[in-house]
């Protein structure tokens, strides 16, 4: 099993990347003879982000903005049942159509995005605040506390998240607050492990040792020397985790274990779209949230992946 320190250490990933360039040891020798570092990997990482990346950024931006401004936007009440417009296709009055109770699908879609986004971003924020801080310190300080925390995080991660979440939600009750807290807590050990590994690799670097010998305090070293270096991995991993949490929330909602109806969320909208023969009578109910979910996940993953390439982090078990 590859050591996660190696997977995350940007320095060794640079080496791996160099190795992945065309050629064998013989080529390397030839290239080495000309200059010590190949300029090639720099070229690779400075590759422009490209159209798709900016498209993804825009899409996430639009979704975020509409979720925040949902109350201000000229949208109907997502729960208003217009009995004169049942199960309609897209039209001028209802851009995405209506469901079998005459509710406006666009409005439900926009309001539903709030659940996914709150769970995704707030969950990761909880994970970052607790797990990230612990990982940063634990990786830098090492010692017994580090050993204990590390072992503990392993045990927590051995738990299949979905089962844990379902069990807890069952006994504690399904609300947006509960689900965000539970998923946030589940994120803590993940964040801890990734940031600890990264922090650990930097704690042993020369510049940190140099800062130590110059008498810098531990706090200063962690904040000034280690934190800035850990940020690339953190940002990349956080994005991937946001996508992961959105999937888990969607799964829960699809199973009817997330926010209670009639409050819309993408997961329960998809579920509604599959219930009562709706797939054959009105596939739009399912299609819009499914499409939105696909595009959102795709965008977040793409942004994360492009940043990973730019930051030169090896694609491992991140």
């Amino acid at each position: 099993m590859p050591d996660d320190r190696e997977l995350l250490d940007t320095h060794s990933s640079r080496r791996l990347l160099t190795n992945a360039l065309p050629g064998t040891a013989a080529t390397d020798e030839a290239i080495l003879a000309t200059e010590e570092t190949t300029a090639a990997d720099d070229v690779l990482s400075k590759k422009p982000f490209g159209f798709l990346f900016w498209f993804a950024v825009c899409f996430v931006g639009v979704i975020l903005l509409s979720a925040v401004l949902a109350n201000v936007l000229p949208l109907q009440n997502p729960n208003f049942q217009n009995y004169s417009a049942l199960s309609q296709g897209p039209s001028g009055a209802h851009l995405l159509g209506t469901d079998d109770l005459g509710r406006d699908l666009l409005s439900r879609l926009v309001f539903g995005s709030r659940v996914s986004l709150i769970v995704g971003f707030c969950g990761v924020a909880i994970g970052l605040i607790f797990g990230g801080t612990a990982g940063l310190v634990s990786g830098y300080r090492g010692g017994r506390l580090d050993g204990a925390l590390n072992a503990f995080s392993f045990i927590i991660l051995a738990f299949p998240a979905i089962v844990a979440v379902i069990a807890i939600v069952t006994f504690w009750g399904a609300s947006l607050f509960h689900i965000t807290i539970i998923l946030g807590i589940a994120t803590i050990p993940l964040m801890y492990r990734v940031i600890r590994a990264s922090s650990l690799s930097f704690a042993q670097r020369d510049f940190v040792v140099a800062a130590k010998t110059m008498g810098a305090t531990d706090t200063r070293i962690v904040l000034r020397e280690i934190l800035p270096n850990v940020i690339p991995v953190t940002v990349t991993f956080s994005l991937i985790t946001v996508a992961g949490l959105i999937v888990i929330e969607g799964t829960l909602a699809f199973l009817g274990l997330s926010v209670a109806l009639p409050t819309p969320s993408w997961g329960n909208l998809i579920n509604e779209g599959t219930a009562n023969n709706a797939l054959s009578t009105d596939p739009f109910i399912m299609l819009w949230p499914a499409l939105a979910m696909f595009l959102l996940l795709w965008s977040i993953n793409l942004i994360g992946d492009r940043l990973r390439q730019r930051f030169d982090i090896r694609e491992g078990l991140l």
Partner: protein, 384 residues
Amino acid sequence: MARTKGGASNTLQFRDAGTHEGPLLVVEDLHTSFRTQRGTVRAVDGVSFEVQEGKTLGIVGESGSGKTVLSRSIMGLLPPRDVIRSGTVHFAGHELTAMDDTSLREVWGAELSMIFQDPMTALNPVKRIGDQICESLALHLGMDRKEARSTAVELLRSVGIPSPEQRVRWYPFQLSGGMRQRVMIAIALACAPRLVMADEPTTGLDVTVQAQILDLLADLQRERHMAVILVTHDLGVVASRADDIIVMYAGRIVERAPTRTLFHDTKMPYTRALMDSIPRLADPSGARLNAIGGRPPDLINPPTGCRFSPRCPYAQDKCRELEPPLRTVGSPDHLFACWFPLVDGMSTAPAVPVTVSSGPAAARSAVENGQAPAPAEPTGEAEA
């Protein structure tokens, strides 16, 4: 030669060709370059030589001189992508450079095989060593499992691995460095090839183990009457083992001679410098290694004139402007590329060198030594 599909008959045809006349390997004007982001790296730049059946040729040069690329280029092992190769290689009368991969595979491992520099990386880490030997036997000699297995045991025994019956089941990481290199030799020799390319076969090993491995290789060579190309950065390694030696610098041959001649009548200052960088047991223990000053040249934009001129203590204006051809003086089998070749270890350059671009220290030490240009600058590039 154009070879088409239909492996078996071609293999026989190839084996029959063993009766051909002339040298076993003929390399003519071989060029090999790599396309990189920065430009084209000319790793091998117009190399020609021959190897006779059963003989040993040493190819010597610093790292980056193109010797490793040369050996892989001869075999055709370089990845096709971003590699440009021209010139011809004839092996046992067949033109390797004209063959496609399918035909080459019948030659590789069977007639022409390779020993790699680092057995730790060149042996598959997750395959038992026995399986790694049997593979070639099954492929080229058509042995069945049992036959291949017992042959593998014999091979391991012949390369001096104790209790080979057990060791065939071992993985590379369970063996010591020297043992691993013996396994590699066993693999290379499994199908009794006629030519073995050994690329720095002893670089990673202890000095005592180095000698054992080289002696083993020499013994096996004598037994099996195969030719060996010994690629190394260490003239000491080939001094007593090669029949002929080629010295390479920046992708070119700079001197080529029978071993005795090369050592007794060195023409090229670079060769001289290489010789002086061999540590001797007789040296006082604190003595500094005579490393060659400066760095190997950039192969994307090689220096004009003689490529060694920026580092050569005897370099003249002519050296920096005009590239010396490979030529002979007297003996026809001693070739060198130098405008002012050494005679009895003394330079024939018109003036005592004072203006050397690689640094005054180099020049001074050359003067003080009185005979050999051996810049004493201790650099990281020194390969001890």
